[in-house]
Subunit: 441 residues, 2 copies
């Protein structure tokens, strides 16, 4: 699934009271040491044993859903008291159906192939040495994330399947829910003979615990922040553990001079309105000047009709001067990941200008062109630097599930290690195994 | 080739006078901006044009070798005056043969396949969307490295071939040599119509220039430090640009109870003495207690006979109590990457103890077992966590050239992105290209 981005109200780096949290005497360092011990056992587990544990985790979640829902109710009550918005309350809320969906996600992971042990490449060298590059787990993965409790279960499952131990640092607003979920998951691990310390919750009530996680170099192999831009920026700045950036998506749709305008309209509406709160939703529409007169009146009517506020450049605003839902765009609008029913709309004079605009304001997530011109499509896909570049398709397709990769832990917007949806293989490293018969140089 | 590790005397983070260096008014930031512009051109160059430039660079190096050698002579004179050791002077020194070797390395790179444009995977999804994951350059690569001037040429060539611009920050002791080399390379780039700013030298006389490179997040895509442990540690600590760690190799050879002792002796001697200054040389020998009586007397005689100082545990020292070349090992010895004719030798009571010792002191580079037992080999290769694990072969084989990958920019000892020898594909990222026919969700 796609990561709904975080907003200020659920910043997981904010501390708060955590009545149901872990023992504050347990340091992140001590947890990381225990995770390493667990990881060394996970690394050599067979797929059969990992899948059995995933099924046990799923069954336990369904069986113990009353405890999970009670903890969640307490989180929700505290959040309501703190004046949390309805949208954030909805993100935090669990019910039987959502718990069942978490359990089903774990069962789906069990059905995916095991990435561990895959021979990525192999050959026999001229001197007879046999060379194999083999996939294996990272070891210990750290996650720092926002309110949604399902991330706790998804991350635990995907890390277990890929042979990694995980340290989970959610937000304090979901602390009781996360604690209840992790207790269920650890119980299921122990019941199937696996180390419970493969899944550990880091104390979200301690502001410093996230910093400790970021500085646990040598104990934690990779840190994956999942949330809004400010969370990810602070992790990238502070962490000495290698970080994989995820999820900030200031995604563009460029309607080319050679676009099919009916198709363009369908794609723009889908990418903006089908689920505006996620990172692969469109945030800016660029329209080639040659089709602006034909396209702008209809797309502006359709967008505003769907409840979208348009932040337009002067040429756009002039089309619907009397519409209160069409307002002037500022420089900041072009840089903003709205995650809401807002869109920046700008007329560009060329494909070149569209590519430049995306180069300047894009976050390297997902960028789309609508065009019937093969040359324009080739130029756009070659030169736009992003995790995913789409031709005549909605940005909403950039997702591990949609790509057929199965469960994903986020969408990487960096170039190192993984770019785009991060599924099971992206949670592994490799090792060269070299076999000789007394070979020396 | 393998990275000879750095030593204190050539720390590239030390500043010094740099009479032949770049204009101090040119900031690293300005250089990085120019590198980005160059990178956007390099990204879409055909292999033909890149290979032509590599050949032009090689030819120019040979033609202009007098200028290069004159600059190198000045570096050498200054280094001699500063009391630099003979070993470091040798590393810094160039002659006609070494310049020709640099030129040949560039020609070899031209013969390698172009990683850019490789379709890593592709499929048509159930809904008809066509998905391709395509290899492309990072953009701008930063290198921080030690004295050897050939790294300047190697890095420039490998980055060009993989479509990346490069910012080179060598050591001040090689500043004149590096400046002369880069001038030649930039001239050849310009002569073949490519942007000279694809290869730029960062002012090594400015202590702060390395820091600026480390903080150029958003302009520099990846930073590769190549040198000793302290250099790499400081880059990892200070950099906000993603780093790929290279080259620190505290490599072990474990001689198992089931080892062929003749083979073990050949491998130990080769791994320790064939080229002791490089990262894949062996630094510690672990001997199973069951073969200690049979193996220690001969291997200690052979090692000391080859001029190696043995730092032994009590059981080892007892074997040659009167030999001045066998001295007691301290805790620090086990953690030391000697890069010299020194080796720590320890008797272990089990395979388990050997794996534990390596887990505690190893740097995740190259670890070898000598054994005739398939079970012991399987256990060792599965459980030892390193870039390369070898069975019955010298650690000296862990090298991009030996593995058949061609030119390498270093040996990664981290788990993210690249692990082991980093050749051309490891200097690229990927992009998903998604092609539809108006697809919406």
């Amino acid at each position: 699934m796609t990561t709904p981005a975080n907003t200020a109200g659920t910043d997981p780096l904010r501390s708060g009271p955590d009545p149901a949290g872990p023992d504050p005497a347990v340091t992140v360092h001590a947890q990381a040491v225990r995770a390493r011990v667990a990881a060394s056992r996970l690394a050599t587990l067979t797929r059969t044993r990992k899948d059995a544990a995933l099924h046990a985790m799923a069954d336990a979640l369904e069986k113990q859903s009353p405890e999970v829902l009670a903890a969640n109710a307490a989180d929700l009550a505290a959040a309501r008291e703190a004046g949390t918005s309805a949208a954030l309350l909805d993100r935090l809320a669990l019910d039987e159906r959502r718990v069942a969906a978490m359990a089903d996600a774990l069962r789906d992971m069990a059905a995916l192939p095991d990435p561990v042990g895959e021979v990525v490449r192999g050959s026999t060298l001229a001197n007879g040495l046999r060379l194999q590059q083999i996939r294996g787990p990272f070891g210990v993965v750290g996650m720092i994330y926002e309110a949604r409790p399902n991330v706790t279960v998804d991350a635990a499952g995907i890390c277990l399947k890929s042979g990694n131990a995980v340290l989970l640092r959610g937000s304090s607003s979901a602390a009781r829910s996360n604690a209840a979920l992790v207790e269920v998951l650890r119980g299921a691990l122990a019941d199937t003979g696996l180390p419970a310390d493969a899944v550990q919750l880091v104390d979200a009530s301690d502001r410093d615990s996230a910093r400790q996680l970021m500085r646990a170099r040598g104990l934690v192999d990779v840190l994956i922040p999942r949330g809004g831009a400010s969370l990810i920026r602070s992790v990238v700045e502070e962490s000495t553990v290698p970080v994989i950036e995820t999820g900030v998506g200031n995604c563009h749709i460029y309607v080319d001079a050679a676009a099919d305008l009916d198709m363009a309209s369908r794609i723009v509406l889908n990418a903006k309105t089908q689920r505006p709160s996620v990172c692969n939703a469109a945030e800016t529409l660029l329209v080639h000047a040659a089709v602006a007169d034909a396209f702008l009146p209809r797309i502006l009517a359709e967008l505003t009709g769907a409840g979208v506020t348009v932040h337009g450049d002067p040429r756009v605003c002039a089309v619907r001067a009397d519409d209160a839902r069409v307002v002037p765009a500022t420089e900041e609008d072009y840089a903003t990941e709205y995650l809401s029913l807002d869109i920046a709309v700008k007329v560009v004079d060329s494909l070149e200008d569209a590519i430049s605009h995306i180069g300047r304001y894009g976050t390297g997530h997902s960028e789309a062109i609508v065009t019937d011109s093969a040359a324009a499509a080739a130029e756009f896909t070659a030169r736009v630097d992003a995790a995913a570049v789409l031709v005549n398709a909605s940005t909403r397709f950039v997702d591990g599930g949609e790509f057929g990769f199965g469960a994903e832990i986020g969408i990487s917007t960096q170039k190192l290690h993984a770019r785009g949806p991060m599924a099971l293989p992206e949670l592994t490293s490799t090792k060269f195994v070299v076999t000789g018969a007394g070979h020396v140089r």
